[in-house]
């Protein structure tokens, strides 16, 4: 993501850089491990890469002349550099104190004559001064203000009476200690100023552990102890602070590394690096050396180690300058990444909600599925119940209906027996009675077979049926009946075919039942009023078929039980037709009903679900 955002701003630079890669060489006089050099380089690099608009080749050399024991080494490495940079065009040379210029000049580093140079020097160090040809050189002078540093450290501890300046035994240590001493005139009037040097590390530690109250400790540098063992000053500061009951102050920003030194108004090598980088860019951009001004403001900064401030209870102090910079401030993490953390938390919360929501959704869906299954089971039970109820109803009706012919048969037979016992039986009369018995028996038989057909309904297979063809075929069958009764048939076919899932024969049976009922209803009307109309109403997902007659309509009292078995208004028939029709339509998951229409006459209808619609293809 970040790469993508930066990419467009890089592309034009790369295009411009077709000219020539510029080479910058930095010569550090001492070894690479020096914290001051690291801070300087870091400042230089961050600032330089921030604004660089050309390609640079940054080369870094450490002369390590601190270990110089004879001229042989110096001579040798300068020869080496001459050879190394013989074919390299050095656009800018940066030399970093102490004593580097002296060595490079003495042994004739060739590049010094050709290149433009930035010389970083101490104002107080004689070996740095005036060695280089001034027309090619821009000087960056480090002016150290130790007295100011110490005074501001004392200000943080108003009760302070003693100042201990503790230094190592290396020449550099002694040099800096002397610089402190040189500038301490004003301090000596107010404080008890003590300089400690020439001790081994053990003795130094022993000493600091006994420092009295209301003291502060200043450590300018501690590169080696009395025994000649070399140290890193930040490590020494850290070590001393763990053994010392008074605050310890470094004088350079490079010494704030390991937890130990408080910090304060100190010289910043980091800022020095940034300033050097600014000058380097001006030089490389072709600004004449004479016009380049070194700005020493900003080299001193209020820099504190937050961890140590907290230890001394100064983290909330109002004594701290408003422009202070805090290193290792833990809360930095939270404040710096506040929005990321908030976003993260928000994301976490949202995700939690989402998970909870999805979980609940899942639970609810399972519940719905369970309820659906329960409902289906219940439905199945109800359907079975209903069928059972209908069977019970049917059985009751059947027993009633059968009891009639059975009674008649019994008494006719009894009558027959009595006739036969007479002296002169009348065979004509007996025959008449027997014919009645046969008739009643047939009536009972056909009752049973019609009930059987009612019970058999579910056994048939269903398929897609064109409802219009059901109507057409039924009308063909009904035609002869209609003709014989002088009935006018008006069919209103639909504008398209729709298909239902069902048994064509059964549906025809229902429709024929409607038609025959309609025919009976109007057979006694005037000839010009005998009309049957058939409608097919297609809705979105269902179709209704209606048969309307021009008769007198359905009597109110019979309307209720119209679809029950053995309900009839006719002389012949058992009134089982509509009950069968109801069973068929219910078996097709449809509805069946009858109503009187306002103009007079009845309308019988059923509605089925459309499985396929011609229009939707």
């Amino acid at each position: 993501m970040i790469v993508l955002l930066l990419l467009p701003s890089f592309i034009p630079r790369n295009a411009n850089a077709s000219e020539k890669t510029k080479t910058i060489v930095i010569f550090f006089s001492l070894h690479a491990g020096l914290p001051a050099y690291q801070n300087l380089l870091e400042g230089f690099r961050t600032s330089f890469s921030e604004e660089a608009d050309e390609n640079y080749n940054l080369l870094i050399e450490y002369l390590d002349i601190g270990r110089l024991s004879d001229d042989k080494y110096a001579k040798y490495i300068v020869e080496l550099y001459n050879d190394k940079y013989k074919d390299v065009d050095i656009d800018l040379l940066i030399t970093v104190t102490p004593g580097v210029n002296q060595v490079l000049m003495k042994y004739g580093f060739e590049a010094l004559k050709k290149s433009r140079i930035i010389s970083i020097e101490f104002d107080s160090l004689a070996s740095d001064q005036g060695l280089l040809p001034s027309e090619n050189v821009t000087k960056v002078i480090m002016k150290l203000r130790f007295a100011e540093t110490i005074q501001k450290a004392c200000n943080l501890f108003p009760l302070c009476k003693n100042i201990f300046v503790i230094s190592g035994c290396a020449p550099t240590d002694k040099y800096f200690a002397s610089l402190v001493r040189a500038g301490s005139g004003s301090l000596e009037k107010k404080y008890n100023l003590v300089f400690i040097t020439d001790l081994s590390l053990d003795s130094t530690i022993k000493f600091v552990s006994k420092i009295p109250e209301n003291s502060i400790v200043i450590v300018p540098t501690y590169l080696s102890d009395k025994n000649g063992i070399q140290f890193s000053t930040p490590e020494i500061i850290g070590l001393l602070s763990t053994n010392c009951s008074s605050p310890i102050f470094p004088v350079f920003d490079s010494f704030i590394k390991r937890e130990g030194g408080v910090g304060g108004y100190i010289f910043s090598f980091n800022s020095l690096g940034k300033e050097t980088s600014r000058i380097a860019k001006e030089i490389l951009n072709g600004i004449p050396m004479g016009k380049i001004v070194f700005n020493s403001e900003g080299l001193y900064q209020n820099i504190f180690d937050w961890r140590v401030l907290k230890k001394w209870g100064l983290d909330k102090s109002k004594v701290l300058p408003s422009d202070s910079i805090f290193y290792y401030k833990e809360s930095d993490f939270i404040s710096e990444y506040k929005w990321y953390i908030l976003a993260g938390l928000l994301f976490l919360i949202l995700e939690t909600f989402l998970i909870v929501y999805l979980y609940k959704l899942n639970v609810r869906q399972k519940e719905i599925v369970r309820q659906k299954i329960e409902a289906e089971n219940l439905y199945r039970i109800i359907v079975r119940e209903e069928r059972l109820m209908m069977m019970v109803e049917l059985t009751a009706s059947l027993s009633h209906e059968l009891s009639q012919p059975l009674t008649a048969i019994l008494y006719n037979a009894q009558a027959c027996v009595r006739f036969l016992k007479m002296e002169k039986p009348d065979s004509g009369q007996i025959e008449e009675i027997l014919l009645k018995i046969i008739k009643d028996d047939k009536r009972a038989g056909s009752l049973i077979s019609s009930v059987r057909s009612l019970m058999k309904l579910e056994m048939r297979d269903k398929e897609l049926v064109n409802l219009n063809s059901v109507v057409q075929d039924s009308l063909v069958i009904f035609k002869s009946e209609a003709l014989s009764k002088n009935i006018r048939i008006i069919n209103h076919p639909p504008d398209r075919n729709v298909f239902v899932f069902g048994d064509k024969i059964q549906l025809e049976q229902v429709l024929l039942n409607f038609l025959y009922n309609a025919g009976h209803a109007i057979e006694n009307c005037d000839i010009d009023k005998r009309t049957i109309e058939i409608f097919q109403h297609i809705n979105k997902d269902s179709v209704r078929v209606s048969v309307r007659d021009s008769g007198k309509g359905i009597e109110v009292e019979i309307k209720e039980k119209l679809f029950k078995p053995f309900v009839t208004t006719r002389e012949s028939g058992f009134g089982i037709g509509l009950a069968v029709s109801r069973s068929i339509i219910e078996n097709h998951n449809g509805e069946i009903w009858a109503e009187n229409i306002p103009d007079g006459g009845a309308e019988f209808s059923f509605r089925l679900k459309i499985m396929k619609d011609e229009a939707s293809r």
């Binding site: 009639q404 059975l406 009674t407 008649a408």
Partner: protein
């Protein structure tokens, strides 16, 4: 046993049942009249002799039960034998409580039927006799004068002549004369006989207490 003129009325909307029962009962020496519906039966002129009704419970139009209500309100002397295709114990209890003599489920056997019919016809004879007695009593009572009727209402409470005379503020002799006249008119000799006729005629006794 059977007397001429005992008629069984068969009311059933099922033609087969109606005709077969009619034929069978005719062969069992009853006069039979059959009707397709309650309405048809009600339109027949009143039948005054002994008989019974065989009535189908479930009929289109006025049902058998409704017809029973009508007949009860008309104080019919014809007992009803209900016949039905549905076995329904509640219905049978109801109908019998209301005076139906029997409740037969189709198909009932002929012995059951004949027994019920003869029982019903016997009952109708009795009811008819009672009815005639009441009629006769009412006719006899109607021959009394107003004073005689007044004295009758006291006699049937068991009062002595003296008490009645005191009650009506008349002479005891006068009560005696009226009592003799009442006995003559009612063609009886004793007080219990007077009471029976008065009871049949539905006369309410006067309260003998003051």
């Amino acid at each position: 046993m059977k007397q001429v003129g005992e008629t069984v009325f068969v009311i059933d909307d099922d033609e087969s049942v109606r005709s077969s029962l009619s034929l069978f009962l005719q062969l069992s020496d009853y006069n039979v009249e059959s009707f397709e519906s309650s309405e048809e039966y009600l339109s027949r002129e009143d039948y005054l002799r002994a008989g019974c009704i065989i009535l189908d419970v479930n009929m289109s139009g006025k049902s058998g039960l409704e017809l029973q209500e009508v007949l009860i309100s008309r104080n019919s002397h014809l007992p009803i034998i209900f016949i039905t295709g549905y076995g329904n114990i509640h219905m049978s209890v109801d109908t019998v409580k209301k005076g139906a003599i029997n409740y037969l489920e189709k198909p009932f056997n002929e012995e059951e039927l004949l027994h019920s019919v003869s029982e019903a016809v016997g009952l109708s004879h009795k009811m008819l006799a009672e009815k005639e007695e009441i009629l006769k009593a009412k006719q006899l009572i109607r021959t009394l004068t107003r004073r005689e009727f007044e004295i009758l209402t006291f006699i049937i409470t068991g009062m002595l002549n003296k008490q009645i005379a005191y009650k009506l503020n008349i002479g005891e002799h006068t009560v005696k004369v009226h009592r003799r006249s009442i006995c003559e008119k009612l063609r009886v000799r004793s007080v219990p006989e007077i009471i029976r006729i008065a009871d049949n005629a539905g006369i309410i006794p006067s309260d003998n207490r003051i």
